[in-house]
Symmetry: C2
Subunit: 181 residues, 2 copies
């Protein structure tokens, strides 16, 4: 940020009074801009024992497979965001069961949150964001072609819990330094 979003004046990068972090502070109107981590919400969509994955039609990680997920928007809940992204990326109407994984990725200021979800029918299809949408047997997950480490980690947790049928809530931190994420 170089200019004040409220008045257009050039900002100073300084630590405001009663704060301990550098913020963009406007010397003209005194606006302080706070930049905070963003939440990515998505689903692990299941249909008749199979897992839905989307092949990315956009950068980053064009051509790789992913769980449907994206930036949460204002005025929605975490599960609403997850279902909206599932619809946008796979054309499918899902229902959330429970939050399943929450993965902090501090070097890119993101938190990735995935829900266990069930498709109501096999109404998925390719979209502008996904060149291909397909159901996979859990034994056929394309591990070497997954788009993001948070997806790999979430599916590892899922496979482990699937063995017992006891699905917990899993937290993790990714400290990888990858240009792809």
């Amino acid at each position: 940020m170089r200019f004040c979003p409220q008045c257009g004046h050039a900002v100073n990068m300084i630590i405001p009074e009663n704060d301990n972090r550098v913020r963009a502070v406007c010397p003209n109107c005194e606006h302080i801009d706070y930049d905070n981590p963003r939440l990515i919400t998505g689903t692990i969509p299941m249909y008749q024992g199979k897992l839905l994955l989307c092949r990315r039609n956009i950068e980053p990680r064009f051509g790789y497979w992913t769980l449907p997920a994206g930036f949460m928007e204002n005025q929605e809940t975490t599960s609403e965001g997850a279902l909206r992204e599932t619809l946008e990326e796979s054309g499918s109407h899902a229902i959330c069961r429970q939050a399943f994984s929450m993965i902090s990725i501090p070097h890119i200021n993101q938190i990735h949150l995935f829900y266990l979800a069930d498709l109501q029918k096999d109404d998925f299809h390719a979209t502008s964001e996904s060149s291909e949408v397909a159901l996979f047997e859990l034994s056929d997950i394309p591990w070497d072609e997954l788009a993001f480490s948070s997806v790999t980690k979430t599916l590892e947790f899922f496979i482990e819990d699937h063995k017992t049928g006891n699905y917990g809530f899993h937290e993790d931190t990714l400290i990888i330094d990858s240009v792809s994420e």
Copy 2:
């Protein structure tokens, strides 16, 4: 947002191409500004069977009791944010056990996330943000003087799980319309 943070030009509030929401778009440099929900992280800090609460020394809800919590910052994990806020508001060094509650508050674009946490010793004290910091027996929680609905809801979940000793992960949505939050 009225001016472009990248170049200072006045922005237009329009739906960008390939999008479906109104964003602040700069006609000069083409910057698109995305405004997303913010995550508030905090703890349910326990010490020898008692609960730590902070009496707010700042608005909103000045004078009311709350769990230590605040906006998550860049470059930290959710639990690091929760522990930092606990230290800043109560002077106390806690350890996170597990994520316990996640409450979406869509009308203010916030998600409140609370961790079960243990104080390592009784090193808490008043701070610039808390006029008073105190341990409460669970039977003495000041329910009528709690600052925020997300705190009340989280403590209700906590008291319920405390009866059995089985602590789950709880999700909820607050759709109240309160000026205080």
